[in-house]
Amino acid sequence: MSPAAPTDADSLVRIRGLRTVLNGKTIFDGVDLDIPRGGITAIMGPSGTGKTTLMRHITGQLAPDAGAIVVDGLDVGRIDRDALFALREKIGYLFQNSALLTDYSVFENVAFPLRQHLKLPEELVRNIVLTKLQAVGLRGAAELMPSELSGGMVRRVALARAIVRDPMMIIYDEPFVGLDPIALNQILKLIRTLNQTLGITSILVAHELAAVRRVADHIHLLAGGKIVAHGLPEELARGETPWTRQFFSGEADGPVPFHYPAPDYATQLGLGGGKS
């Protein structure tokens, strides 16, 4: 079902035995995952299964309770803050709500990472920013404020900011949420184009199967604290396991239960013992 396991050199991200407990709830219980270099890897799974938390682990925003997360040869759980910041300079992160700096214009938002880390002449900063804005189709919106943009435009500005320093990897956290079909297609096209033209490794966290199938090279299905299936999009879409069948067919009940864990229904209604 799955493609050949990548070797160390092929993997930009390598996770082994990841275990995370948050507020007494086990989020990950022995996750093993490899993200190959240069490809688009999608992390899919039911809501609340910890996809964004997994991205927070990869970027060192959250330390695991156990296990190793190796990104570009560095164990992000063990490196110091300076090394972590140096690593983050090579990673672009597209937040779920885009997280643009609301006091800054589109231009200043995209220029922000350049101004913070590089002492470049203003003319060069301007040219780089305009190039990136041109790539996402928003060169004409450079002087607008984030509050003046539509949801799709905000997402594209955030994408321009994420790629402004030509990162080795981009993490897209739910990039399709709330987008109309036109904006969704624009984002899909950008993800594919950036991956192909810049050779960036992309990690895509999303629910939208149809959209993901159009761009992803690999899909990992995360559920119940583990990677329950992984492989090519077409393979997983066939639904050969209960997990993939439920997720990709959109079945309401299955390995991911419809009901949140609760005490016995009859007992709670005061009707005596019995099964719910």
Binding site: T59, Q61, A86, I91, F112
Partner: protein, 256 residues
């Protein structure tokens, strides 16, 4: 034991908050050298928390001085001591009212704005985005606001004191007919620069540090929801006011 819980729990939470705030102060102080790179941001913040607070500080200073002048004139006239009006007003303002009222006004005007701004940045992932762009939000966002508060507060207190004395002069001299020379000469003869003026400025500096520390801490650690930001803003005013008055007592005891 269970009866103790309602009393013990808030006390324990309060102590935990004070401890966390202390650690936060240490992290700010450690980030200050790096924040000097963002000098423009610090200057911008001095404008926002300092210059933008001038109207309220000047208005309140003027009226506090006018009320002081009116109250003290009538009280002093009972003892035939109206000549001491300038001295008493100046000492009240320099030693206590100037620093304390400025700090309370600053907490309401600038402290709440700092908390709400940083809290919204937290709620909209802007602080996380900075972390992801390898920019330390403590150095870029928090430290400039902290420095701005420490720098702006003594200046605002000076403005408050100046307007307060002017208000007292308006009431005592221009309205109630006290001799102008008596007002100023008694004041200049009895107010000591080091014991009164400089000690007041020390207090203001300490209040500036405490109020902005509380404001930034509340914003930085707020729950990322609209309700969380609202609570954090309220806590800023309440905790800043209490802390200001407590520290005022301690500093007064040491500085007298």
């Amino acid at each position: 034991m269970s009866a103790m819980r309602p009393i013990w729990s808030p006390l324990r939470d309060g102590l935990a908050q004070i401890g966390a705030c202390g650690i936060f102060l240490f992290r700010i102080l450690r980030a200050i050298p790096l924040s000097l790179r963002y000098l423009r941001e610090t200057v911008r913040q001095i404008f926002f928390v300092g210059a933008m607070s001038l109207i309220i500080i000047m208005t309140c200073g003027l009226f506090v001085g006018m009320v002081l002048g009116l109250q003290l004139y009538h009280t002093l006239s009972i003892f035939g001591g109206t000549a001491a009006l300038g001295t008493v007003v100046a000492l009240s303002l320099y030693r206590e009212l100037g620093p304390v009222v400025t700090a309370l006004l600053f907490a309401g005007r600038a402290g709440t704005s700092i908390t709400a701004e940083i809290g919204l940045m937290r709620a909209t992932d802007q602080l996380d985005a900075m972390e992801m762009m390898a920019v330390d939000p403590l150095a870029f966002v928090v430290a400039p606001r902290f420095l701005a508060g420490v720098i702006a507060m003594p200046i605002l207190a000076c403005v408050f004191n100046g307007l307060g004395i002017l208000g007292a002069h308006l009431v005592g001299v221009s309205w109630l007919g006290l001799d102008n020379g008596t007002f100023w000469s008694n004041m200049t003869a009895n107010v000591d620069v080091w014991d009164d003026v400089i000690n007041g400025l020390w207090k203001s500096t300490a209040f500036g540090a405490v109020v902005t520390l509380i404001a930034t801490f509340q914003g930085y650690t707020t729950a990322p929801t609209s309700e969380g930001v609202a609570y954090a803003t309220t806590r800023t005013v309440v905790f800043s006011s209490i802390a200001t008055l407590m520290i005022d007592f301690v500093m007064t005891a040491f500085l007298m």
